[in-house]
């Protein structure tokens, strides 16, 4: 007996099944839109087929039984016995969802068959003509016992048998394992040597097995050559037995034990699948690094002047390789945004159907890569924005026609790079935000007193306020108790921002700007008193030296300064962080204008030291969260510098103002 623990393959099975389900869903959606590529049907069939095979192998019998029926349905389509109609697509889409649920239940060691899956299975079975519900691993009826003393076997392979890799000697060995065997060879059909084909078989045998083995066991030896030989298997019996039984494939039960899974193994962030080309790049880089290192090691014993140029060259090379290596390692965490976008064709289709709206989804930039952590957390906010756009943004077809537009609305989902950030846009060409309705609601909710004098931009921003909802009635679609404020908070937690641009009558665009990665930021190093802080470049608008005459003191001890015709508060990091050292007058330092949550403030620091990439380290891992600080990094000399949290500082300033 082997001691292979099948549980070790469960995670791989789960992951590839999810991939298969995703591919299946995409193919189904394409088929639904009238695509006629037979490969799409194959993709769907293969997904069901593979999951069934794996599930049965790894002991997930419920999943196997379910996918078996789905596979049969697809087989009918594939063989042309059934058209790929809407109802089939619909049922298979739902089946995909159910299998996804069943798989995750299985992975956590829970029973996968639920009332829901059973109901859907019944629907599937009803659609598939004449298929029983659970034929996988169905028990074979026990054959009646035969009082058999032995077997007489006449076996004459057709001449091509050897070419199939089957070897009569091998079969005889197997028979011998069942009991004493006598073999007689019939060489009467052997041709003259000159006519003989070395790879053909000319011999026949009669065999006599002296054992009361089961017919299935005896015929099982020949099951692979059924049809490739003349074979008669006759029992020597005390009592007659039926001979007519068809040769059956050896029944194989799914005997794999079901193992309770460690729920942690199912955690999404526990592993990253990395493309081989990324690994190759890494290996190449490390190779170059080793070469550079050996080149530099010759300077171990000192450098004379003639070698200086070489040393400089080596160091420059080392610097370049280190940077490339860092980029390469970071790219391992990067995954294409298509992993998130992929769910939208289905979502949009279902929503549009439910609301009787016509929507075309226009997805662009799916290959844009994002940090895995960012990717995992951006899904929900995007789903919310997409739901909102279809629910509230796009109009009903008749309304669109009345407004002089086409009856089909467009929802654009686009990802692209801009500077050091990733931008994701969700845009609809619907009615746009209704300024009056927003103002009225905001007043009703006590968020503002009046809408007068507010710019359109400021009014649009109101929908991000906590407790605000533009829907007249809470609908099943968007109003799940989660508002736009949660969308904004989620994006901000990722170090990103959300902006909104709306034109009444022609649509709304949400623009989410996200950092490329959470692990490394570009920052400005600034001295404050005797300390050093890092301000993320992404939040910085500009650094300015202020003149005393552009600064105004306000009641309560605050300071405002004029920047591009706007007055904005000065936040002295020295005071906020309680720094050690000498406090400076406002014209002795630098104001870094930063923006967070759409609000600008000026951070007053003593001087700017430079710009650098900072590897972000958590303060919370060993300590706790500190207001105004987003993390820490390690400087070139090994000391620690803290990273300013611009959003936190903006909020602190707002609280101060409110108090």
């Amino acid at each position: 007996m082997s001691k292979v623990d099948l549980a070790q393959f469960h995670k791989a099975f789960y992951e590839e099944s999810l991939d298969g389900l995703d591919a299946m869903e995409q193919a189904l959606l394409a088929l639904d839109e009238g695509a006629e590529d037979p490969e799409l049907i194959n993709v769907v069939f293969r997904a069901a087929h593979s999951i069934k095979g794996g599930a049965a192998t790894f002991g997930f019998t419920d999943v196997a039984a379910f996918t078996h029926v789905a596979e049969n349905l697809m087989d009918e389509v594939r063989s042309g016995r059934r058209p790929m109609e809407k109802a089939v697509v619909e049922l298979l889409l739902r089946s995909g969802d159910t299998v996804r649920d069943m798989l995750s239940l299985s992975m956590t060691g829970q029973p996968a068959a639920t009332a829901e899956s059973q109901a859907l299975l019944a629907e599937l079975s009803a659609m598939v003509s004449g298929v029983a519900v659970a034929p996988v691993a169905a028990a074979k009826a026990a054959a009646p016992a035969e009082a058999i003393e032995g077997w007489d076997i006449a076996f004459r392979p057709f001449d091509y048998l050897l070419k199939s890799g089957n070897d009569p000697a091998r079969m005889f060995r197997e028979l011998e394992a069942l009991g004493p065997l006598a073999v007689t060879c019939d060489a009467s059909k052997l041709p003259a040597l000159a006519d003989m084909d070395a790879e053909s078989s000319y011999l026949g045998w009669t065999l006599s097995l002296d054992a009361g083995a089961k017919r299935a066991a005896v015929e099982g030896v020949f099951d692979w050559v059924d049809g490739d030989c003349d074979l008669t298997v006759t029992p020597r019996i005390a009592a007659p037995a039926p001979v007519a039984a068809a040769v059956a494939a050896a029944p194989v039960a799914a005997a794999a034990p079901r193992t309770v899974r460690d729920p942690a193994a199912n955690s999404e962030s526990s592993s990253v699948r990395v493309g081989i080309e990324k690994i190759d790049t890494l290996i190449n880089l490390v190779g170059e690094l080793v070469i550079t290192q050996s080149m530099l090691s010759q300077f171990n014993d000192g450098v004379d002047a003639s070698q200086l140029e070489m040393l400089r060259h080596g160091l420059a090379q080392l610097g370049r390789h280190t940077r490339e290596l860092q980029e390469s390692v970071m790219s391992i965490r990067m995954l294409p945004i298509s992993t998130v976008f992929n769910r939208f064709p289905r979502l949009v289709r279902d929503l549009a159907q439910k609301l009787d709206k016509k929507v075309v989804l226009d997805m662009r930039g799916e290959t844009t890569e994002l940090d895995k952590t960012v990717l995992e957390k951006i899904g929900d906010p995007l789903v919310h924005l997409v739901r909102n756009a279809i629910d509230h943004g796009l109009e009903m077809p008749d309304k669109r026609l009345a407004a002089g537009k086409g009856d089909t609305g467009t929802l654009r989902l686009e990802a692209f790079h801009r500077g050091g950030s990733i931008v994701v846009e969700v845009a609809d060409n619907g009615a746009g935000l209704n300024r009056e309705a927003i103002v009225a609601k905001a007043i009703q909710r006590g968020i503002i007193a009046t809408g007068e004098g507010m710019s359109d931009e400021a009014v649009s921003d109101l929908i991000f306020e906590a407790g605000f909802s533009t829907a007249a009635a809470t609908t099943d679609l968007s109003g799940r108790g989660v508002g736009m404020d949660v969308v904004r908070r989620n994006v901000m937690d990722l170090g990103g921002t959300v902006a909104i641009r709306s034109v009444q009558g022609s649509g709304t665009t949400f623009t989410i700007t996200l950092p490329l990665t959470l692990a490394i930021i570009d920052g400005l190093t600034a001295a404050v008193g005797e300390e050093i802080y890092i301000v993320p470049l992404v939040s910085i608008i500009e650094s300015v030296q202020v003149k005393p005459d552009t600064v105004r003191s306000v009641a309560g001890g605050g300071e405002l300064f004029r920047f591009r015709d706007n007055w904005m508060p000065i936040v002295r990091l020295f005071d906020v962080f309680g720094c050690a050292g000498q406090r400076r007058a406002v014209d002795e330092g630098i104001v870094i204008v930063v923006e967070g949550e759409g609000t600008r403030i000026g951070l007053f620091v003593d001087e700017l030291i430079g710009q650098q990439q900072a590897v972000v380290k958590s303060l919370e891992a060993n300590y706790r969260r500190v207001t105004g600080i987003s993390g820490a990094t390690i400087l070139a000399d090994g000391s620690v510098a803290l990273i300013a949290d611009v959003t936190g500082l903006v909020r602190m300033q707002a609280r101060r103002k409110a108090a």
Binding site: G557, G578, L619, A621, Y623, V626, I634, V640, R656
Partner: protein, 171 residues
């Protein structure tokens, strides 16, 4: 008696080992199982809004680790940080932090039966941070409850301090 039983933490049957450290004229014991590393004093980076005894954070092989001064924690005057000043890195509940003491002295073995409850007097230390006291070669050793040195009450205190900072700034 109950308290005595409790004080002998994980293995009630076996003797526990303690690293003893000096603080002024007193000697404290730190459960050796919590000690990760003993380092010479290096400057740290101050953290805003931290209580006075949290000196700041240092870079421990890439991890950001807070450092507290045991003297300040116990309300003693701060000594000069000298070449003999050491930072004991401890790991408690998966978190690492450094504890600055005057010097480390010894590793002692303490049988559970030799641990006595701390009388609520006579030491400069709030008994809240002690598991008990014992006598080793006629020296009194106060056994520290390391878990409590940098624990929730700090966080609460800090939140309170934070709130008051805001108010102060307005006033």
């Amino acid at each position: 008696m109950n308290q005595q039983a409790n004080s002998a933490t994980a293995q009630p049957e076996e003797a526990a080992q303690y690293l003893t450290v000096n603080l002024g004229n007193e000697e404290y014991g730190v459960d050796i199982l919590a000690v990760r590393e003993i380092r010479g004093w290096t400057p740290v980076t101050r953290i805003p809004q931290a209580p006075g005894y949290v000196l700041g954070v240092l870079n421990l092989r890439g991890a950001i680790v807070p450092v507290l001064d045991l003297r300040l924690r116990f309300g003693l005057a701060r000594e000069e940080y000298t070449a003999t000043t050491v930072t004991v890195i401890v790991m408690v509940n998966g978190r690492q932090f450094g504890v600055v003491v005057d010097a480390v002295s010894d590793v002692v073995e303490v049988a559970p039966g030799d641990v006595r409850p701390v009388p609520d007097m006579g030491t400069t230390v709030d008994t809240e941070y002690l598991k008990g006291l014992t006598t080793v070669a006629e020296r009194m050793v106060l056994l520290l409850d390391v878990d409590r040195l940098l624990q929730p009450q700090d966080a609460q205190m800090l939140e309170a301090a934070l709130a008051s900072t805001d108010v102060k700034a307005v006033a």
